[in-house]
């Protein structure tokens, strides 16, 4: 599904290399987790894949189902089936959550040559998906993410994911700022979307999210590269011992930029 080869990325403004030859393959229907210490390049990876400005790819490639992602505009990547659940979902005052969702869903359908959903069809769909995430009608009416709690914002991200039905979902530190109950609710939402045709890349600093979203494969990202790959037990190892040992093994100083 997602194939990243020798990806090198630097910050445009600072001329600072963040990703230094990252290789990663996520198979269709699988959940991969990326763990890593602060400053290892986790968020950069998610932003580069989704097409945010400010990053320069100096080398390498990233393909989504055989299509080169890095040459596409962000909206084209979304249309191609990529979805990024933001670590910090953006508040957009004055734009209703429903309007936003409907615009997004129909833009994607249009890009893929499908007819737009009628107001009635959309409403039915969104109510059904919102209910599963315990998102009430009031939240749908409010402006996008404005006045939402941390948990509500993350649930709203998962609702968007459910509505857009992406092939490849990237979750960027979705657990940050959530208490245990909120995290469980979000994880349930994600698990409900697990499907043999859909892949996930779960980026997280802590193992706790992976208790709820069980990964097939766990990668350790440090100093801009994947330094270790293993099964779910690798996450447990990090939880028990921290990153220090693994980093030392690879000759990486623990304190990153």
């Amino acid at each position: 599904m997602l194939e990243i080869k020798n990806l090198h990325v630097k910050l445009e403004e600072e001329d600072k290399a963040i990703l230094k030859g990252l290789n990663l393959t996520v198979e269709t229907g699988k959940v991969h987790a990326i763990m890593g210490p602060n400053g290892s390049g986790k968020s950069t990876l998610s932003y580069v894949l989704s097409g945010r400005d400010g990053y320069e790819v100096t080398e390498g490639s990233a393909e989504l189902a055989g299509e080169e992602l890095l040459e596409l505009q962000p909206e084209e990547r979304a249309a191609a089936g990529l979805f990024l659940a933001f670590q910090y979902p953006v508040e957009i005052p004055g734009v209703g959550n429903m309007t936003f969702l409907r615009t997004a869903v129909n833009a994607k359908r249009k890009a893929n040559g499908q007819p737009e959903l009628s107001a009635g069809e959309f409403l039915k769909l969104v109510r059904e998906k919102a209910k599963a995430l315990k998102i009430d009608a009031e939240m749908l009416k409010r402006p996008v993410n404005v006045g939402f709690s941390g948990g509500e914002k993350k649930r709203n991200e998962i609702l968007q994911m459910a509505m857009l039905e992406p092939k490849m979902c990237i979750l960027d530190e979705t657990d940050s700022g959530l208490d245990v109950d909120a995290m469980k609710l979000v994880a349930e939402g994600v698990n409900a979307l697990r499907d043999e045709g859909r892949s996930f890349l779960v980026i997280t600093h802590y193992q706790r999210l992976l208790d709820h979203i069980k990964p097939d494969v766990v990668h350790i990202l440090a100093d801009g590269r994947i330094i270790k790959t293993g099964g779910p037990e690798l996450a447990q190892e990090i939880e028990n011992n921290g990153y220090a040992d693994i980093l030392a093994e690879h000759g990486i100083s623990e304190v990153m930029a």
């Binding site: 945010r52 909206e75 957009i92 936003f100 997004a104 857009l164």
Partner: protein
Amino acid sequence: MAVLQQKRDAAAARLDALTVATGDFTAAARSDALARVQAQGLPARRDEYWRWTNPAALNAVAPSPAAGSDAGDEFAAFDRIKLVFVDGVFDAAASDDLSQAGIELLSAAGNADIHWAGAIYGTLEKAGQTPVDRPFAALNTATATEGVLIRVTGKAPKPVHLQYIHSSDHSDPILHHIVKLEEGAELTLLESGTPGARFNVVTEVCLSKDAKFNHIRVQGAEQDRQALTHIFTRVAEGAAFKSFTMTMNGVLTRNECVIDIIGDDAVAHVAGAALGDGKTEPFHHDDTVFITHGALRGESRQVFKKVLKNGANGIFQGKILVKEGAQKTDGYQISQSLLLDDDSQFLAKPELEIYADDVVCSHGSTTGSIDQTAMFYLRSRGVPVEDATAMLVLSFMADAVDEIEDEALRDDILSRLEAWLSRHRS
């Protein structure tokens, strides 16, 4: 002195082409206003109050021609009492019946003696000449040919809608409306369309104790018309004045609003959303507001948003004056522009002048471009750049549009903003 003489000469030249009506309830006010505008002269570029808006097109004896257009029956979806003015002339045939239960409606033209209106005509305008001269308003009082007189004693049964139709390329109407809300009365006043090629509209709004006035104005989307409007209002104890204006297009628009809070616990909100695209014609929009707090616990809001592109010009001059003794005043003013390119400009002059020591007053003014973080968020959800821009423009406008209390009217305004945005994508 030479400058003042030039200004007076300009006034004399304009007045020569106009008539000061005599013999009706407005006669005394007109001759008083005539003397005032003759003494003030018309504005000059050098006047501080006209520094950013060139008054030349308004001073000219004849207007620059502007093609009329039929905006259709705006607010058609609303149950209202419609009064139609064609090139500034009241069109009784196209209007609803003036005799309505619960509301007194009169055409200002040719009414011999209307006590309540005679006590207001030109009075609020004259009071609004201090501390800043507003010669065009005095000119209006002296020479207005038409207007509507509205008096409400209870809750008005329906909104009153003043619909302006512009058909002649050279029409130059001067309209003077009077609104009086008696104690506890309520009225929504709607205005739409373009009164003429050039127009000067003064509305005096007298709010008695606990009266509630809502004003929603949609200035027609014509390009070449030259617009000058003044609202003068006096807000008594417990009364609420709320006015919202949406402006799209226009080579010259200046909307002045002069609010005098004279009673305790009164509320005055004035808001505006302007969309300007200078691509085919220049766009110049000026909001000038002066709010005087002269009583206890007054609340005032000024919320102005402008979206500017292709060399459009936006101006905001807003002042809050808190008089001595107007304690617990809560005054807030925000003026913001969203510049969609590097060619457009926004000039703002926020002012606070406070003589009471226990007040909360603040102002803010910003000029910015589209928020790139929000833009990326929308695009990452598959929303194309143009649609995302439209959404973020609406987001920017939200605070001003939210000043419209009525949900149906608010939605109506939002849909107009959306339609404009879809017409002005590049």
